[in-house]
Symmetry: C2
Subunit: 206 residues, 2 copies
DNA sequence: ATGATTGGATAGTGTTACTCTCCAATATTA
DNA sequence: TAATATTGGAGAGTAACACTATCCAATCAT
């Protein structure tokens, strides 16, 4: 398969495929001569993944590159790799404040939930940022709400973890792509559940 | 309070505050002369909200404008206003396909969950887009997983709905800002719950 | 043999979210 | 009151981003 066929199958302009090659989002084809290379199914699959990450998931090219690199070759330390990979995904995290207690809101929240607090895990900074944003926007999150949310999402996490593959490479792919691809599903489902509940409530009232 | 004081309190350059005024994200101050205007607490609160929407929540200026306009004056139809407001938030939705069945994946998913399917509600298109992205990236979402996620988020929705104010204006503000500000909290909590579950699992194994 | 296509490089485009500069009118300070 | 600073408003400029277009000599297809 040459580049024009690849681009056509993926539904992209050739120029865009070349751009992804240059940016390292897509591995090069096998050269068959000085001015020709062959592409296969793996390139097509990768292109579809790239499009999903750049489009619906909303990653930048840089973020997608970071994520794909970790999926392609995860290091020895599975735990650290997962942390790094997930930190490449939006939303943006808070900067760490006071050195002795960099993420006070997140620390308190996790303590209340009875969960591990590790300031080096990037999602902690994300939680801090999200809590701080809600607070500064005048809609702070109550402990009660946090507890409720935490319970619901622990439930989701248990489900996901139970289905995580054992083999490290597959585990990283599952975790990273699962986070990137399934989070939008979760937010859409939340909104729809809201709508559903609202409709039932209006019906009951009307 | 003049513009320089307002900007200083909000921690923003004066030029940026002027930019928000131009873009309609911030209401004008009350003019005290041809070249002076006074700003008050309401402007400061609004600036904090705008920063939260543009920063951690990740809205574009356009999206933030749309959201704020609906919060500022919601129409008569509460249900339609909420739909419109939430549709202004990311992630991007799928385009509707075949006219007779524009969102097949979302329709099937909602049927399985026993929830209302209304193709005009924008979150349906978001769900379709997210499901399609996962599928085309090679990680389709099983019915089992969807059911599990749906249950967990219905739980979240029930909690939120029970706390929704009765007065229409307040209800729109609660729903829209709640969605914008609390969704990042939910995704952060999901990631942390994963980490927590993973740590416990590694500990158990090691 | 001849026209089209390729990989590779470089430059250009449209969008977004600011940021800078300028202005005459007004405030503040000396 | 004179000198200096700041204001609201408008327009142009900028940096990052994700492509997109153009060009080239080498090669392929017919």
């Amino acid at each position: 398969m040459r580049i024009s066929a690849l681009a056509a199958e993926a539904g992209l302009p050739v120029a865009t495929v070349k751009f992804y090659l240059r940016e390292g989002l897509l591995h090069a084809g096998t050269a068959t001569s000085a001015t020709q290379a062959a592409y296969d199914e793996s390139h097509l699959r990768r292109l579809r993944l790239v499009r999903a990450l750049l489009g619906p998931v909303g990653l930048s090219v840089q973020q997608a590159h970071a994520v794909l690199q970790l999926v392609d070759d995860p290091g020895d330390d599975l735990y650290a790799t997962l942390g790094r990979a997930v930190s490449a995904l939006p939303p943006a995290a808070a900067e760490r404040g006071d050195a002795s207690d960099p993420f006070p809101r997140a620390r308190a929240a996790l303590a209340a939930l009875g969960q591990v607090y590790d300031p080096d895990f990037p999602a902690v900074a994300q939680l801090e940022g999200a809590l701080a944003a809600a607070e500064s926007a005048g809609m702070p999150i109550s402990a009660e709400r946090l507890a409720h949310y935490g319970r619901a999402l622990s439930d989701v996490a248990e489900f996901d973890l139970a289905r995580m593959p054992d083999e490290p490479h597959a585990a990283v792919e599952y975790t990273v792509l699962g986070t990137a691809l399934y989070e939008p599903v979760l937010t859409a489902l939340r909104r729809l559940a809201h709508q559903d509940a609202a409709v039932r409530r209006l019906r009951g009232a009307g």
